[in-house]
Symmetry: D2
Subunit: 369 residues, 4 copies
């Protein structure tokens, strides 16, 4: 009879570099996903789970095998000689946990949204910068094969200039106790846009319209619009009350239009080679407008996507950024740009949907993306 126990990490012999040491803070909804992916990564040694609720921490530790459980953040940072922490606690605690970790000299991966206010997010970004530490926002969607492909297509110029973006993210969602539907769902759309738009997400002003028809105390249905350069327009629809689930983003371009239907695994991305064109050539006054418009009716193309778990890419990006002293693709700055828009949303909602300026240019000017 042969029973053996194998030390954690021994089975994967492919990582030539020593593994980095990390802990997961927060064992609730998202923490287990982080823990599982860190455990499976050749880059990381998952050392500990930290949660105020020790029972929950132990339960998570058991599923990943041989990991310590600790109740207090200070103990965690003092004891385990960590390189980094991955933070999956509630949004209003991000600032406190992350600042503590940064001050202890740890790199940080933090769940979206970066913080619950722009001011706090800015402090976190500046602290990381001052200390030369990596602060990465866990904008997981940006590491899905679909979004990576979208980013690549936009960057390659295949779509031409962007004319409009329409993003719909609606389903029967959990009405959150302390944030409205914009703060809960729109970070996905905004972080994706920050990732795929050339130059990132820098709207100068936005308008938001929301409704709370059930009287829950916070908006459950929301519409957000803002402009892009060249009179392009972005619209985002988020909704917790829809029994039909839609996750669709249309990126209309001057050359081609891309439709991402995340609920269609057989054809998530379609690129339509059709559209409306306007030729800017001299014409007689009479037919100036109509005759210059032409229509293309071309083929549709759907790129093959390798199915891969995006969170595995997130933790690899984190390790790469730390090792190579580079900024991760979903940096703290990116998280901050998302926060800036969310704060403007809150302001617009409180002024009957009025167009509202988006703070944040001071950071945008300093940071080359």
């Amino acid at each position: 009879m042969s029973i053996r126990t194998v030390p954690s990490g021994q089975l994967n012999g492919h990582a030539v570099r020593p593994r980095l040491r990390i802990a997961v803070v927060g064992a609730g909804y998202w923490g287990p996903n982080l823990a599982r992916n860190l455990k499976a990564s050749p880059d990381w040694d998952l050392v500990a789970i930290c949660d105020l609720d020790v029972e929950r921490g132990l339960k998570l530790a058991e599923t990943v095998g041989g990991v310590a459980v600790v109740e207090s953040l200070d103990e965690l940072l003092d004891t385990y000689n960590l390189d980094a922490v991955a933070v999956a606690t509630p949004a209003h605690t991000h600032h406190g946990v992350v600042m503590t970790a940064l001050r202890a000299g740890k790199h940080v991966l933090v769940e979206k949204p970066l913080a619950d206010s722009r001011a706090k997010g800015l402090e976190m970004v500046e602290e990381a910068k001052a200390r030369g530490l990596v602060l990465m926002a866990d904008h997981t969607y940006c590491f899905t094969p679909a979004v990576l492909k979208i980013q690549e297509l936009v960057a390659s110029g295949a779509l031409g200039d962007i004319l409009y973006v329409d993003s719909v993210r609606i389903n029967l969602g959990l009405v959150q106790p302390d944030v409205n539907v914009f703060w809960d769902l729109a970070p996905h759309d905004l972080s994706i846009l920050d990732f795929v738009l050339p130059g990132g997400l820098h709207p100068t002003e936005i308008a938001a319209h929301g409704a709370d028809p059930l009287g829950t105390g916070r908006d459950c249905v929301g519409h957000l619009t803002f402009g892009l350069p060249n009179d392009a327009m972005v619209h985002i629809h988020v909704n917790w009350l829809s029994p039909t689930k839609i996750r669709q983003m249309i990126i209309g371009g001057s050359k081609r239009t891309l439709v991402w239907d995340d609920l269609n695994p057989q054809q998530r991305i379609s690129v339509y080679d059709r559209g409306v064109s306007l030729e800017h050539q001299p014409r007689s006054a009479a037919d100036k407008r109509t005759s210059a418009i032409s229509y293309r009716l071309g083929d549709t193309w759907s790129p093959a996507l390798q199915e891969r778990e995006p969170l595995g890419q997130v933790v690899a990006e984190l390790a790469g950024s730390i090792r190579n002293h580079t900024m991760p693709r979903t940096s703290g700055e990116s998280g901050l740009r998302v926060l800036s828009v969310l704060e403007a949303v809150t302001q617009s909602l409180s002024s009957d949907g009025q167009s509202t300026l988006v703070a944040g240019n001071e950071v945008n000017l300093q940071v080359a993306r």
Copy 2:
């Protein structure tokens, strides 16, 4: 050998009442559909086609068989002893044509939009009213089996209170020479809402956001939001630049939610018996909000719809209204309510999406719907 010719109208012997006499004014895009349906109707005797372009009029007359063609509206009204005219000319001519017909004592069916300004529409409505004539807006969608069923379901209370409406009407559309995408497409959504919302369409203010990213001189992408009673919210997305075609309306209700996907002939309407509920009962202060929210996960139901050409119903409704001296379901007032919103849209667009009051309460107060 036997060749026979049959006088027009003799084959259909089922109409017990004498047929009403009508002419179609405008033989362009929509006129042929009106002519064909009037020809096939047991209520109507299609007497003439009127078009400034006589060749076009003749071509249409040939397809419906044995109908006179006339160039001038005055000749038409003087000569043919008509009961009514059906107007399918460009929007900016509606006011002139309709006023002339009304003053000649004819009942009128007019294509959407009722007119190209609210003031003109109001004049038309008041003229018809003063003369006791039927002025009907050809809001064809309101006579489709799908919309009739939606109206019935909303009226029956099956959906409960309406929480939100989201309507998307996007495809690669013809960029119109003289109107923007709101005036071209939103009349469909607005007239449908006027038809299905209990009490009709009476928003006090709206906000509209549009974009003209191609520089065509008019908005090609548009978003319109407004409130309904009880903090419910309507959003309408119209777009001429989308290569993917979507015609979907979601009506979220407190009891059930209805999704109308007009491009799915096998299941146009789905009624979801699921959603979020908020129970208003006394609770402790701490858990007041979250614990009172509950989720229902019930079945989906899709009513059978008889496929029927809606324009056939339109011309039947017109005849019925004339004969019974009743207001048609898509009355001139209904068309006016649509115009009121469209004018507010134009105003909101010109003030950077600011919330804008909707004119028209003076009419709404007078007219019981």
Copy 3:
């Protein structure tokens, strides 16, 4: 006031050649479609409608304007100096009507199926051949933009060798009084295959399985399988009892696979550049089979299709064949190949699904396609 009547055919001045003269025989379900397309065609002068039910003939004549109606076929052929007749009578009458027309020296377009037995069809084909007349089967599907594109893609080698074909044509169909579901629906699939398969439809044997679970007296559910060269396989599923409508054909190729979903107007044809490959190279005995199999996961491509009414193409093809003395793409021989399979189906059904030889090689050998 100006009323004018215009002689039929004068408005379309584009046809430089004199129009050919044709009559439609049969004013029932399909006749009106033929009449409408012949009327609209620059190639044809629609001269008369022939139907035993004169009322029905008159009704049809009225919708196309200024066409004679005649009760008897002999009168029709004697009187109107026709070039051709288009036959849309019930299948069991095709042989009689077509033979009479051919003997009168008329070219013939005949609705599918060509006849109600292979022997009759063969006689019709031989009569036309002996007289040098065009006998064209109205396999309308073969003139749809989708099938034309499929034919082009198969012929170009884009799919590689055909590995399998699976065609599903099911919906709540009218249970026909005198034919089973194979004879009613499978002619569509078979004529399409005859059109798109390189070399046409020449199965040596087939097997058919049917069921009549309602006891209607004829099979309402049917499955037909046969082989193609190189061990490829065709399967056709026809069903009158399915409340869900499916019209889908999958053509699996060694290079690419094509899926035609005729109920998805936004993406009727998808070409998948993925599949299984088998490399035929020498290997060690042990891993011979498994290791030689590889998988490709490439992009999907959907060609743009111009929407065009196929029957317009049918009548143009008929005119072209007559004028240029060429064989139409859906020739009488093609109709005969379809009949040969259908007769084998009947035989296989009566012998518990046994593999059954398909007659017809004698014709196939004579006729170069």
Copy 4:
């Protein structure tokens, strides 16, 4: 600092009865799923993993935490005082492993197919019966919410008499080294039918048609047809070569028709209240057939399904059967009925698709289901 380790099984305190002891044999594709569900179950104590490849066993053991790994089956059975074993080894080893386990007095859960021949399966069933042990086939699909609902609907009579079943299970599948596509995929369809058909799966004869167009040495495309009582018909299409994935079963009934689309998580099951009816009442000879046929066009209904992992139900059913001495719903007999059909398929394929008798009535007669 607080690190604790918790003994396996202590956290779940809800099981009042002592847990049963089980081991998983085979740590390859399916074993990890079994291990995970047994670990999570309140009914089971997962004691050991057995695999000839110890490294693979250790890897699996690590993910479930604190489970022994053993190389030899005899050691496993001798040492761990097991109540049951769950067998997830290759099909050709099932007979050997299961017979050994049964002879050691263990209850057995075995992956599909039960064995690689009917004779072996029969021996396994009889051994279990003779020893009063539970032999359960892991027909996982039968424990999905969708199939449980289908079974319930059929049993309740909601569909009426079954008229036809059409099941399509096609996608780009792994060409298996030692079985053809029927043996790989059809067990799913057959076990589901055995579960949902009233009285189970007892076809007297079947016909199968297959193709190996790539020359892999085994059929990659397959069609299987057989009759049900009252001239109903079943057809199953399995295919490894299709780049488009379809998993759809249509069950046509005399009252309603059910469509199960397993790739549509938002509406897996649709029940159509429409169809064709035949009234069996005396009529005149002439119109006997056609006039008795009528069509219903009713609503569609889609039941809500609770998403639940079916394998959790499988292990609960196994525990329940052992404790209550009842036959599991997917018994060894059920697995045997599936094998009987698969053996007939092999025979039919080797005789050009001829109808082939299905062995197994001797078992069917003895075993009340």
